[in-house]
């Protein structure tokens, strides 16, 4: 009895509340996006909103089950989860169903499909936490670093083969976890630097970019010319950067697929193909932009109601939010996400067990990355890479995965006083 009471007392109800709020918002917006007066029912499993209703119920069930499990059990099984997810990722490459150019789906029969890459995020997060929480592991050491990178890299590589660029990039967000656990901040800086270099090299002539970074490097060297070690580092870095800049065109033209290239071009404003490749984003921006401050009202969004935005219940669900609820509604949703990730960081930091903390950062990073890329895509700040908006986008796999991700953290957190 006592145990039972303290269990519910210990669950972080703030997070649960945000989770439920986001699921509810999601359900209402999916309904708005694909509303069909002929099938207004929510129980018949015929429309997306009816299906999502059952997905939410099912996810809540799974979430409850997770809360009832032993934490120890989850931790112990994390390698098994990881291996299962790798096997599924290999399986999907062999017998997967191709949806929208990606071989990402496993058909389970009866129209139910599973996306192993979603599960892989969860499993990778768990294993990474388990590895990094081991007492003899220090990320600053090369060996530990490489093993951590391998844990993240293997599923990444398998997903890249599908090729699902969006889900692949999600794994990169785990760099925040490594950083929190002691990875040199240079990795973050270098990551940011390389993104900037990549984009500027596409936008401008590589020669100009090289000229600018060389000039910058020279200024730094001149300012700190007493520091020999820094000079050497800068020169080495400069050489790598120049090599990278020179290879960008090659990567861009030969490694990336044509549709990815076009999507990048559109975000950078190099190309504008409003009726063709740029149609999605253009219509999405129109939907969100036309929402103004208060939005057009529930079920009154013309862009969504009259299907101007493709994929509007999944990757472009934020259009419905922006159009029907306006800046106010968009702000509330963004606020809820910010609250959620900050709350997760807060939860992570209050853990006594390193495993729980590391896992918590993994959850925060993955959710944050999804939110950032998804919303940035809908408003034309990021190229279209097709990742869902957590808890809001339509889709059973995605919802279930995020629910598991979150509820495992809640379970760990509810146990935080115990020794894991």
């Amino acid at each position: 009895m006592n145990n039972q009471r303290s269990f519910f007392f210990n669950v972080d109800w703030v997070t649960v509340f945000i989770y439920l709020a986001l699921c509810t918002i999601g359900w209402f917006n999916i309904r708005a996006a694909v509303f069909d007066p002929a099938h207004a029912g929510i129980l018949d499993f015929k429309t997306d909103y009816s299906k999502q209703f059952w997905y939410i119920i099912f996810s809540l069930g799974i979430g409850t089950v997770i809360l009832l499990l032993e934490s120890r059990f989850i931790i112990a099984l994390s390698p098994a989860f990881y291996i299962i997810s790798l096997l599924l990722l290999i399986l999907v490459l062999v017998i997967g169903r191709n949806v929208g150019g990606n071989q990402a789906w496993l058909s389970l029969g009866g129209g139910i499909r599973l996306q192993p890459s979603e599960f892989a995020k969860f499993a990778t997060c768990l294993l990474l936490a388990r590895y990094l929480s081991a007492t003899n592991v220090r990320i600053a050491e090369w060996r530990s670093f490489f093993i951590a990178v391998a844990i993240i890299g293997v599923p990444m590589l398998l997903i890249l083969l599908q090729p699902d660029m969006g889900s692949t990039l999600v794994f990169y967000s785990l760099i925040f976890v490594l950083y929190r656990e002691g990875l040199s901040p240079y990795f973050l800086v270098i990551s940011a630097l390389f993104i900037v270099l990549f984009l500027t090299s596409i936008l401008f002539t590589p020669l100009y970019v090289i000229a600018v970074i060389t000039a910058l490097a020279l200024i730094i060297i001149l300012l700190f010319r007493k520091n020999k070690k820094l000079t050497v580092t800068i020169i080495t870095g400069l050489a790598i950067c120049i090599a990278f800049v020179l290879s960008v065109k090659f990567i861009y033209n030969h490694v990336l697929q044509p549709h990815q290239k076009v999507r990048i071009d559109i975000v950078l404003g190099i190309k504008s193909d409003l009726r063709g490749k740029g149609y999605n984003v253009y219509q999405s921006k129109i939907a969100i932009g036309s929402g103004k401050l208060w939005g057009k009202g529930y079920l009154n969004g013309t862009q969504t109601k009259y299907s101007f935005v493709p994929a509007q219940s999944t990757d472009f669900i934020f259009c419905t939010v922006g159009e029907e609820w306006g800046f106010a509604g968009s702000g509330v949703v963004l606020g809820l996400y910010l609250l959620l990730v900050l709350r997760i960081i807060f939860i992570a930091e209050r853990q006594r067990s390193p495993f729980s903390r590391i896992y918590g950062y993994g959850v925060a990073s993955i959710i944050f990355f999804h939110v950032f890329i998804n919303i940035a895509t809908t408003i034309g700040l990021a190229p279209v890479i097709g990742i869902p908006l957590p808890f809001i986008s339509y889709g059973g796999s995605s919802l279930l995965n995020f629910t598991m991700l979150l509820f495992v953290l809640l379970k760990l957190d509810s146990n935080r006083m115990g020794i894991v």
């Binding site: 002691g182 921006k285 939907a287 036309s290 968009s330 925060a364």
Partner: protein
């Protein structure tokens, strides 16, 4: 917790920063940038225009002159088209394969998703056969469009025609017209455009991304229903209009008849004319081109655009001014030796025929050139020959009061002012002071520079019939179902001649018909007062002119008839005028003493020779009764 505890702030900071950037961007596109709301609106909003039915035009007795008939535009939405039997489709549409391909390319170029016109103006009969099979051709659709139809095919120049708006019309209308709309181009259709066109209806529809309609924008708050154009009741009498057009066929010329007590135009014939139905439908362009190429120029609106020397028909006016000024009295006589000598010029009288002693009435009846030359010289010289210029200016102003030399302000575009020479004109031709009454003596008999339109001549007869005033002539007597009459048409325009002076002139004019030059055109039982004219011109035979009004007491109709280059007024214009007058007053044409029949005039061809000559048919032989003595006598008394 470990030693990197403070890194939580870095990570949280990065998360917050990035989400704030997203929020700022949302703020920009949702609040600051207004374009997206407009784009969203453009995406879903489609204006569906329903064209207003144009107002019909009736004749004075309520018979329809022009009304609307539905035509069908075939529309195509290329993306919705599925493979179909093109050969069959072309056959149904009545076009060939090349035209089909051309239209198809045009439609695809316009928009694959939006409907555009594929084939314009299918008649109801063509459409009937296509309609039941239209469902076999998905992507093709039809929209009705109302065009004009003319049940009796009359009064083409009077009614005018409508045509698609030009860019400049659209610009000038301030957005009222849209490309593809129709607008009155000539005639009453043009001058009453604002009344006839009505108000188009606009439906604001919402469409989805596939352009399927999904209901009304803002629940129809901004929708307006089409309001049909107003009905016009014209002053025309369709029976005499039709009769007049028949009488004038194969002749160049004009008939204008006016009701003197109202100024309403009863008959408005411009010959050669055309079937107004030719200016409607798919063959319109070809028909119009043919008519433009026609050397007799059917588009020329002769009643108001053709200028003729009035010839002797001007003489009554000349006499009236002299009477009013007291220069002559009805008793003033003149001995006609067969010519008139003005200075060193000699004006012959009817091929030298001497009229002997004539007074005013008999001068009018016999059309004595000498008498009126004498009158004209008396007028111009009564202030002394040094004052000729000023005296002429006064005289001119008096003539001008009758509506000559100025537009009468008919409710139809294109009116000519005729020509009433100014003193300045003569100053330029001769030199100031270098011209005298004898120099311009031909004005006395309606020749010289003097020119008037048939409308002006008919209006002059109205003034004589009314003994001193006229109503502004007009074509439309009432607007809308409420029969609104413009105020300007109810005001009398006085010409400055006292009514007492009209009797002697009218006596003369009655004599013209009773026993004068126009005796052959005498209508049994109706007293018609008229004046023949045989106006010389440079194009060959003289123009045959006749002006008249009838009956003498309480005149009901005033008329001017001109048959170009046909000969003498008594021969052509006067009989035609008499038929119209009788038909109008009596409803039918009775047997004439002179034996003239309408059929003879209908069949006569007096079209001038133009090489290559078209439409000239062999003129029927002159009926033998015309060659009888009485007719010959009348011939001799011409003018």
């Amino acid at each position: 917790m470990n030693s990197f505890f403070e890194r939580r702030y870095v990570i949280a900071g990065i998360f917050i920063t990035i989400l704030v950037i997203l929020l700022a961007r949302l703020f920009y596109i949702q609040i600051v940038d207004n374009r997206y709301a407009i784009y969203a609106n453009n995406n879903v909003r489609r204006q569906k225009i329903s064209n207003a039915a144009r107002g019909p035009i009736l004749d004075r007795n309520g018979k329809v002159l022009v009304q609307n008939v539905p035509f069908y535009d075939i529309m195509v939405t290329p993306k919705q088209v599925k493979p179909f039997d093109t050969v069959e489709f072309c056959k149904l549409l009545g076009i060939d394969r090349a035209a089909f391909d051309k239209q198809w390319i045009k439609a695809v170029k316009y928009s694959p998703y939006l409907p555009s016109v594929f084939e314009k103006q299918l008649s109801a009969t063509t459409y009937a056969s296509l309609q039941e099979r239209l469902s076999e051709f998905p992507g093709f659709d039809s929209t009705p469009r109302y065009l004009r139809t003319y049940p009796d095919s009359v009064a083409a120049q009077f009614l005018g025609y409508i045509g698609e708006v030009q860019d400049k019309d659209i610009e000038r209308s301030g957005g009222y017209y849209h490309p593809g709309d129709y607008i009155g181009v000539t005639g009453v259709e043009k001058s009453y455009e604002a009344v006839l066109r009505g108000q188009r209806g606009v439906e604001n529809l919402m469409v989805d991304s596939r352009n399927k309609p999904k209901g009304h924008y803002a629940n129809g708050l901004f929708d307006t229903a089409a309001v049909a154009g107003q009905r016009l009741t014209s002053s025309l009498d369709i029976s005499i209009q039709e009769f007049g057009e028949k009488l004038m066929q194969n002749k160049e010329g004009s008939i204008v008849a006016i009701e003197p007590s109202t100024g309403e135009i009863l008959c408005y014939v411009s010959s050669p004319t055309y079937d107004p139905n030719l200016m409607v439908g798919r063959e319109r362009g070809n028909n119009a081109a043919k008519m433009y190429a026609n050397p007799y120029n059917p588009f020329f609106i002769r009643p108001i655009q053709a200028k003729y020397p009035p010839g002797s028909s001007f003489k009554p006016l000349s006499a009236l001014i002299a009477l009013q000024e007291g220069i002559i009295t009805p008793q003033t006589t003149y001995f006609c030796p067969g010519y008139y000598k003005a200075g060193n010029r000699k004006i012959p009288c009817n091929n030298g025929e001497a009229h002997g002693l004539v007074n005013l009435s008999s001068a009018v009846a016999k059309s004595c050139n000498g008498y009126f030359s004498m009158v004209f010289q008396k007028i111009l010289d009564h202030n002394g020959t040094r004052q000729t210029e000023a005296t002429f200016a006064t005289w001119r102003a008096k003539v001008n009061k009758f509506g000559l030399g100025a537009k009468l302000g008919l409710d139809m575009p294109g009116e000519s002012r005729g020509n009433l020479p100014t003193p300045l004109h003569y100053d330029n031709v001769y030199k100031p002071g270098g011209w005298h009454s004898s120099t311009i003596i031909s004005l006395a008999i309606g020749q010289g520079e003097l020119e008037a339109t048939p409308l002006q001549m008919a209006n002059l007869e109205c003034t004589i019939a009314n003994q001193g005033y006229y109503y502004k002539p007009h074509l439309i007597k009432a607007i809308s179902a409420q029969n609104v009459i413009r105020k300007e048409y109810t005001e009398r325009n006085y010409v400055g001649i006292d009514s007492q002076y009209f009797d002697p002139v009218i006596n003369g004019m009655q004599a013209v018909v009773d026993n004068g030059t126009a005796i052959r055109s005498k209508i049994p039982g109706i007293v018609m007062c008229g004046k023949t004219g045989t106006a010389q011109n440079s194009h060959g035979e003289p123009n045959s002119v006749f002006v008249a009004f009838a009956p003498r007491d309480h005149p009901k109709i005033a008329i001017a008839v001109i048959v170009e280059n046909s000969g003498e007024g008594a021969h052509w214009a006067a009989p035609i005028a008499s038929f119209i007058v009788e038909k109008y007053l009596r409803g039918s044409v009775s047997q004439r003493e002179s034996g003239i029949t309408p059929e003879y005039f209908m069949n006569a061809n007096k079209l001038p020779d133009i090489i290559p000559k078209i439409r000239k048919t062999v003129p029927p032989p002159i009926p033998p009764n015309l060659k009888k003595d009485s007719a010959n006598k009348a011939n001799k008394q011409r003018r």
